[in-house]
């Protein structure tokens, strides 16, 4: 069959995958701490074309495109004031460490609450970690100072674990605002980011940019569809006109 038919189809598939990812960004435009994903498209490796009888190379042909990677953009989202003492936004780099049943996970979404036994927990009830295990609050006034220390009624209780990695791209999204660290993250450090109490970090999705990307992806899809139709017309000619006896 005509090779270009499949090449154009690969273009449609890549545009579709890109739309899926842009839509996920848009649906999370109001999720605190959400970091947008970007797709990286890659062309398939080119194929060498050979002349039939003597196998001499006559040139190359491309075979289309595919989505190669999704890369999370960890740039900071805007920060807004909530006045809730357990809303913590990290200014600068870093992630909160959270103890989940599956192990330690990381998050930028700082909308925490207290559990009935006084632990600082995420909205799913997973404890947020400090240097000495989960953060315990027994008292009235909860404060976080500019060294990320948890201060309860004027007493430093613990330091909130705000960590970063040599390569944040090794973090894998797990849903529920959590990231899992794969071996690719390299070493783990204490982050330089400081906690702003009473603030929440919004998602870093830029709606204008996402909408533009979506238009681009849908048009990309449409263009490839046109290409397929054109090939189809050629095939139509081949089958129905050339072959007419």
């Amino acid at each position: 069959m005509l090779r270009g038919l499949y090449t154009a189809a690969s273009g449609m598939n890549a545009a579709l995958e890109r739309t899926n990812i842009i839509t996920n960004n848009l649906s999370n435009s109001n999720t605190p701490g959400y970091k947008k994903d970007q797709t990286v498209n890659k062309s398939f490796s080119e194929m060498l074309l050979n002349r039939m009888p003597d196998q001499e190379a006559i040139g190359k042909a491309g075979l289309g495109a595919k989505v190669d990677q999704t890369v999370t953009d960890f740039s900071a989202g805007s920060v807004h004031r909530t006045d809730n003492s357990l809303d913590w936004a990290i200014e600068g780099e870093g992630f909160f460490a959270v103890q989940t049943p599956k192990g330690v996970r990381y998050t930028r979404s700082g909308n925490f609450t207290l559990s009935q036994d006084g632990q600082v927990v995420t909205q799913n009830g997973n404890p947020v970690l400090g240097q000495g295990g989960s953060l315990q609050v027994v008292g009235e006034q909860v404060n976080v100072d500019n060294q990320n220390n948890l201060v309860v009624d004027g007493q430093v209780v613990d330091q909130v674990r705000v960590v970063t990695f040599s390569d944040n791209n090794g973090l894998v999204k797990e849903g529920d605002d959590l990231y899992r660290a794969t071996p690719d993250v390299g070493n783990q450090f204490m982050a330089t980011g400081t906690i702003n109490q009473g603030y929440l970090e919004s998602s870093n999705v830029n709606v204008v940019e996402s909408m533009t990307n979506m238009i681009e992806a849908t048009r990309h899809y449409e263009t490839n569809q046109r290409v397929i139709k054109t090939y189809d017309k050629s095939l139509d000619k081949v089958v129905n006109s050339v072959g007419r006896l």
Binding site: S115, Q123, G175
Partner: protein, 262 residues
């Protein structure tokens, strides 16, 4: 089918819940003792089309995989117990709590409910009751001939009776406090009920650590800030709209795919 159709639908549904919550906050802007809610969103699970770190055909590892998210979900509607502003009413049975405590009132079914709404009244028997007639848990009766009722910051209710120069104490208001007030269940009528998430109440007299003090003649208004809610409403409405645009784009793509076949 196209994943993004369902992804965008989760976004629309989430924003709808957001608008529902914001509307309820705005509807209660003038309700005394009302505490606003907000919806906390989380991203949904991710489908990993290729794991990061898998070896590629050049012998090295791919640095980042392909992950496709499936949208958003509401994780919790969280009650925010920030203090509301106070309004002076000069009504002797209006009380505002400065601090974390709750008034305890007895519902008709005998269970104790908790409220920040301090607009109390006297019923025909002289008991201190809420606007719905639910009495305070520490049943306090004001004598019929009392000429003056004063409530101290510690919650002691004193009355002055004719023919008696001295004030007499008729009762003590106790407040309840929860380690996780966000876990309380709203049962309407400005009342909250305890749940396993809120923990058991600790009860003590006002002015004790963290329980707050009582101010007579004041009412605590709802802690809803109209400007903030309106801004949230705009953001929610636009987020809803942008998700509907994503559905339309996905639909158009499906149409394109359908048009491939003559």
């Amino acid at each position: 089918m196209i994943r993004s159709l369902w992804t965008a639908a989760t976004g629309m549904k989430a924003q709808q819940l957001n608008i529902d919550t914001i509307s309820n906050n705005l509807a209660n802007v003038n309700t005394s003792g009302f505490k606003k809610s907000r919806v906390n969103f989380q991203d949904l699970m991710y489908q990993s089309l290729r794991e990061a770190g898998t070896p590629n055909n050049q012998g090295s590892q791919v640095p980042a995989g392909i992950e496709v998210g499936h949208g958003v979900r509401p994780a919790a509607t969280q009650k925010l117990f920030a203090q509301g502003s106070f309004q002076q009413t000069e009504n002797p049975l209006d009380m505002a709590i400065e601090g974390d405590g709750f008034f305890q009132v007895v519902r008709p079914n005998g269970q104790v409910a908790y409220t920040r709404d301090g607009s109390f009244k006297r019923d025909s028997d002289g008991r201190i009751v809420t606007s719905d007639g639910y009495p305070l848990e520490s049943d306090i009766t004001i004598p019929e001939d009392a000429t003056e009722v004063s409530i101290t910051a510690e919650g002691r209710v004193m009355v002055k009776q004719p023919g008696n120069e001295e004030v007499t104490e008729v009762g003590q208001i106790e407040l309840a406090r929860f380690s996780n007030p966000a876990g309380l269940k709203s049962i309407g009528r400005n009342l909250f009920a305890e749940t396993p998430a809120s923990g058991n109440p600790t009860v003590d007299i006002p002015t004790e650590d963290g329980f707050g003090t009582i101010s007579q003649g004041y009412l605590e208004k709802g802690n809803v800030k109209v400007v903030e809610e309106m801004t949230n409403m705009i953001a929610a409405q636009r987020a809803y709209e942008v998700n509907s645009k994503a559905i339309r784009a996905s639909d158009e793509m499906l149409q394109q795919a359908n048009n491939l076949k003559r």
